[in-house]
Amino acid sequence: MSSSHILSIVTFIYGLAAFLYIFEWVFGKQAAGRAATVVAFIGLIGNTAGIILRWIESYRMGIGHAPLSNLYESLVFFAWCIILLHLFLEWRYKKRIFGVIGTVAAVAALAYASLKPSEIQPLIPALKSNWLIAHVFTCFIGYASFAIAFGISLLYVLRHVGGPAVLKRLPSDSLMDELTHQLVMFGFLFLSAGIISGAVWANSAWGRYWGWDPKETWSLVTWFIYATLLHARFMRGWRGNRIAVLSIVGFLAVLFTYFGVNYLPGLHSYGAMGQ
C-alpha cells in the first residue's frame, strides 16, 4: 500500500473520531468519547506511518527528502501536529473538547490535501536545505497550536453571543480563556522560530534574510497580531471575548499566509531560482 492510500484512509479514521467526539459532546455519551480517543490515536499511528512511508518511498525513487516539501506534504504534517497536540491536551486537562476541534481541523486539512497533487516530486535546488525542513516543521507546529486556539476562541465567542445550548457543556470560561492564552504562547514561540528559520534559509539561498515578499510579509502580519494579543493580555489585562476575537483574527491571518497569498498580485519567490 502506498503512503497516499494510507493517508486517505487516515482521513476517514479521523472523520470517524470527529463523529464520535461530536456525538459525545452533543448527547453526553461518555462511551462515545472514550472510543473517539482510541480511534483518533489509531488515526495518529496511521498518519505517522504514512509520513514515514512517504519518506522511504522518496528514497526508493532516488530523490530522497523529508516529506515537508510541498502543499500536500505540509498539510499532512499539519494534521499530524494537530492530532498530536489535541491528544496531549486531552490527556493533560482531561477534557474531550479538544478532540472536536482537533479532529475536525485534521479532516479539513487532509480533505484539502487530497485535492492537491500527491506525487512525490524531486526537490528543486532552492528547496534543498535543512533550514527549509526546520522552517516547515516549526511553522506547522505553530499553526496547529493556533488552530486549536482558534477553535476554542470560536466556541467561546459563539457561547457568548448566545449560540446553541450544547455550547454550555464546554469547559468554564476561565479555563477556555487560559487555554487560548497558553496555546497562543506556544504557537507564537514556534511561529517565531518558523519565521527565523525561514529567514536563515532565505539568506543561504538568495543572499537576503528578509525581502518583504507577500508570504514573508503576511507571516509578519500574523506575528504582529498575536504579539498584540499577548501584550493586551499581559499588560492591559484583556480577557475573554476580546482575546478570543484577536485569536480568531490571528488564525485568519495564518490561513491567508498559507493559502491566500497565492492569489495576490505578484508571486512568492518560493522555489523560484532567482527573484
Binding site: 528543486i124 535546488p125 543561504s204 538568495w206 537576503r208 510579509t217 504582529f224 498580485p265 505578484g266
Partner: protein, 476 residues
C-alpha cells in the same frame, strides 16, 4: 522657573507617551495594517504599470505616500523607530524597579500574599507540626532554590520556598533582542550592498551592479567562472545549478569553490550566491551591438494575411489599424533574453491596447519573424536584417552564471537577535517566578497542612504544581 517647568512637562509627557503599552498595541496593529497594503500593491514596479492600475490621480497619490516602495518609506521606518523607542523607554521604566526584585540575596516572604491566593490544597495529618516540618523541608529544598522556616504570630509553622526569580527578566531579553535585530538590519542597510553580475564561462569580472541604484560597483577581488553546469530531473525540473568559481586577488587565484543554490561562497565578508544562468548569444559580431538608425517594420494581420510596412526609429509611435491600439518603439537591447536564451540584439516595442493594457513585443534583429510565436491577432517583423534561423542548439553551448553578490555585516547581529528572542520566549512563556508556602497548624491529634502557591505568570501551571506538591507531601 516656569520655562523649565514647561520643558519638563513636555519631556514628561513624551516619556509617558513612550512608556505606554497602549502605544505598543497601536503600533503593532498599524504595522500589521500597513504591511498588508504593501502585499496588495506590488512593490517596486515600473511607473507605467502603476499608472494603468490606479489611474493618474491614484498613481500620484500613492507615489507621494511612497506606497510603491513602502517598506523603505520614511513613515514605515518611523513606525519601526517609534516601536524601538517604546520598547527602550518601557524597559528603562521597569528595569529599575525590577532589579530590586531580582537582585536580592535572601528573598523575604509575606505570608499574607499566600493567604490571599485561591490556589491552595489542604489536608490533615495525625503527626505533630515539628515532625512534619523535618519531613517536608528536604522535599522543598530539593525543588526550590530558597527555603525558609518561620513561625507565625498564630503559632503556625510556615515553610516558604521559591525559585526562578530571574525569569522575570525574560520579557526584557525578548525586547532587547528585537532592538538588536533591528539594529543589525540597520547596520546591513548602511554598510552592506546587494548586487548581481553575470559571468560567462571562462571569463573574469571584478565589477558588479547594485540592485537598488543600478550603479556599477568594484569588488576588492575578481571572480572567474571556470564552469557552469545545470542538471535536470527526468520530469524536466532543474536538479542542480553549479558554478565553479575562482577568486583572484591581484591576478593570482586565492580560492576555488563550487557554489550551488543554498551553498554560497563567502570571501572577505562578501557573499556570492548562485542565482540565475543563461546561454550566451551566438558568437557576437561587431555589427551586433550597433543600433540601426531606422528599421523597417512589417505588421501582418494573422487572420487576413493583410500587411503594411513602416519606417520607425527609437521613440517613434504609430497607431495600428482596426482599433488594435498604438505601437511604440520603446528601446534597443544588446542582448534580448527570452526563456533563458540570449537572442542577441533587438528592439523592444510596447503595444498599448485600446482597453488600456500594454504588452511587450520583442524583436530580435537576427530572428525577424520571432514575433509570430507571440499568439496575438497580428505579428511584427523586421525587414532588411541579416536573418538567422532560430535554432537554439545550433552553436556550441556556452553558459553564463548569474550571481547574487551581497555584503551584509549586520547578519551576525541580526542572528544574535534571533537566538536571544527564542531564548527570551522560552523563559517568558514556560518559566515563571514561583513560590510556595506550607502552613502547619497544630490541631487536636495532629496537624492541619495548607499548601499555597503563587507565580508571576502561568497561574494554571502553578495550580497544577501546587496540587502535585501537596499530594507528594501528603504521601510522606
Amino acid at each position: 522657573m516656569p520655562e523649565n517647568e514647561t520643558s519638563g512637562g513636555i519631556w514628561d509627557a513624551a516619556w509617558g507617551f513612550f512608556a505606554s503599552v497602549r502605544l505598543t498595541i497601536i503600533l503593532l496593529l498599524s504595522l500589521a495594517a500597513t504591511s498588508i497594503v504593501g502585499t496588495f500593491i506590488p512593490q517596486n514596479k515600473q511607473p507605467l504599470e502603476y499608472l494603468q492600475a490606479f489611474g493618474e490621480f491614484g498613481y500620484r497619490l500613492l507615489a507621494a505616500l511612497d506606497f510603491f516602495d513602502m517598506y523603505r518609506s520614511w513613515w514605515f521606518r518611523l513606525l519601526i523607530m517609534l516601536l524601538v523607542l517604546n520598547i527602550i523607554v518601557c524597559s528603562i521604566e521597569r528595569l529599575a524597579s525590577l532589579s530590586k526584585i531580582i537582585f536580592v540575596r535572601n528573598p523575604s516572604f509575606k505570608r499574607s500574599r499566600f493567604q490571599k491566593t485561591r490556589n491552595r490544597s489542604v489536608f490533615d495529618d495525625d503527626r505533630q507540626p515539628e515532625t512534619l516540618k523535618d519531613l517536608f523541608l528536604p522535599v522543598l529544598q530539593r525543588r526550590y532554590r530558597h527555603t525558609r522556616l518561620e513561625e507565625g504570630a498564630d503559632g503556625a509553622l510556615c515553610l516558604f520556598a521559591e525559585k526562578w526569580r530571574w525569569t522575570r527578566i525574560g520579557v526584557y531579553v525578548v525586547h532587547l533582542s528585537i532592538v538588536v535585530l533591528l539594529l543589525g538590519s540597520l547596520v546591513g542597510s548602511i554598510f552592506g550592498f546587494e548586487g548581481f553580475v553575470n559571468i560567462p564561462e571562462n571569463e573574469t569580472v571584478d565589477t558588479i551592479f547594485l540592485r537598488q541604484s543600478g550603479k556599477a560597483y568594484r569588488l576588492p577581488f575578481s571572480i572567474r567562472c571556470d564552469d557552469f553546469d545545470v542538471r535536470f530531473y527526468a520530469n524536466g525540473a532543474p536538479e542542480e545549478f553549479r558554478s565553479r568559481l575562482t577568486i583572484l586577488k591581484n591576478g593570482r587565484p586565492v580560492l576555488e569553490k563550487d557554489i550551488l543554490v543554498n551553498h554560497p561562497l563567502r570571501y572577505q565578508g562578501i557573499n556570492l550566491f548562485q542565482s540565475s544562468y543563461g546561454k550566451m548569444a551566438p558568437e557576437a559580431r561587431p555589427e551586433d551591438s550597433e543600433l540601426p538608425e531606422e528599421v523597417t517594420l512589417r505588421i501582418t494581420m494573422k487572420a487576413s494575411g493583410r500587411s503594411f510596412t513602416r519606417q520607425a526609429a527609437i521613440g517613434d509611435q504609430f497607431d495600428l489599424p482596426d482599433g488594435l491600439g498604438t505601437l511604440k518603439v520603446a528601446g534597443f537591447q544588446k542582448a534580448i533574453q527570452f526563456g533563458g536564451q540570449n537572442l542577441g540584439p533587438g528592439l523592444v516595442l510596447a503595444l498599448q491596447k485600446t482597453d488600456g493594457q500594454t504588452e511587450q513585443i520583442l524583436l530580435p534583429l537576427h530572428f525577424p519573424n520571432f514575433d509570430k510565436m507571440r499568439g496575438g491577432t497580428f505579428f511584427v517583423s523586421i525587414l532588411g536584417q541579416k536573418q538567422r534561423a532560430f535554432q537554439p542548439g545550433e552553436h556550441a553551448e556556452r553558459y553564463y552564471t548569474g550571481l547574487q553578490v551581497t555584503k551584509d555585516p549586520g547578519v551576525p547581529i541580526v542572528y544574535t537577535g534571533f537566538v536571544g528572542m527564542i531564548i527570551g520566549f522560552i523563559i517568558t512563556f514556560f518559566m515563571s517566578h514561583q513560590s510556595v508556602c506550607v502552613e502547619l497548624t497544630a490541631r487536636q491529634g495532629g496537624t492541619h497542612v495548607a499548601v499555597a502557591g503563587i507565580a508571576d505568570r502561568n497561574k494554571l501551571g502553578m495550580e497544577r504544581k501546587t496540587a502535585q506538591l501537596a499530594e507528594r507531601l501528603q504521601a510522606l
